[in-house]
């Protein structure tokens, strides 16, 4: 299978795990989508470094875009890429983050270190966070 196909299959699997197997249903929660938006931003930055400098290089046969060239950075946007990285990486990251959070929430639900709960923020940062 190509990387493209694997990421689509992966998304299908993690969505099924969340909704029907572990029934954690984090995909229906605001807390997931807000934290995932933050994660995506930093994924684009760090993955941009890994792919823009050619630390990790991709094979054009496995992705929508073309192979990473040997002597020049990939397209910043376009050719199936976003911030140098193949767009498949976004789905790969989605699978990684969702699987992680499904397991984390599920473990809490069955009673593995539900406590201590997160928060409250320190007073020094509270005023930057705005109203609850």
């Amino acid at each position: 299978m190509t990387y493209t196909q694997l990421t689509l299959l992966g998304v299908l699997i993690v969505v099924t795990l969340d909704m029907y197997v572990f029934r954690t249903k984090i995909l229906k929660r605001k807390v997931f989508w807000v934290s995932y938006s933050i994660v995506i931003f930093f994924q684009l930055v760090t993955n941009g470094i890994l792919t823009g400098f050619g630390i990790v290089e991709y094979n054009g046969d496995a992705i929508i875009g073309s192979s990473t060239a040997q002597d020049s950075p990939p397209a910043f946007i376009g050719d199936g890429r976003l911030v140098f990285a193949p767009i498949e990486d976004l789905l790969f990251g989605f699978c990684l983050v969702v699987l992680t959070l499904v397991l984390w929430v599920w473990l809490g639900r069955i009673g593995v270190q539900r406590e201590p709960r997160s928060g409250p923020p320190r007073k020094s940062v509270e005023r930057f966070l705005g109203a609850k």
Partner: protein, 111 residues
């Protein structure tokens, strides 16, 4: 750039998220057992994916920028660390938003 380029990015991720544990009191590192039990299956599943992708040449690593230490199935150590560091960052972000907003995540009480 050096052999520690990839490693440095991961270190940056850990350093960049550490303040959440301190200032938003995410208490993720303090819940060590839950953290380890979360990461282990993720590490196994994604290492298998990585091993397949490396075998099929979906992606390759520039030897100038990785530590050069290789683990099972030709997976660079840097990749193994990636599958540990990124889940930690994801959980820290998740618990940080929870700390800041008090939104429910579904593990508040046993069902």
């Amino acid at each position: 750039m050096s052999k520690f380029a990839y490693f440095s990015v991961l270190l940056g991720c850990l350093v960049g998220t550490a303040w959440l544990e301190i200032f938003l009191r995410t208490k993720v590192y303090r819940r060590t057992i839950r953290l380890i039990l979360t990461i282990l299956p993720v590490l196994v599943v994604f290492s298998i994916w990585d091993a397949y992708a490396i075998a099929q040449k979906h992606w390759t690593f520039d030897s100038r920028f990785v530590t050069g230490i290789t683990t099972v199935a030709n997976i660079p150590l840097d990749e193994i660390l990636f599958f540990i560091v990124i889940p930690i960052c994801a959980i820290l972000s998740f618990e940080a938003v929870r700390s800041a907003r008090n939104w429910e995540a579904g593990d508040e009480d046993s069902k």
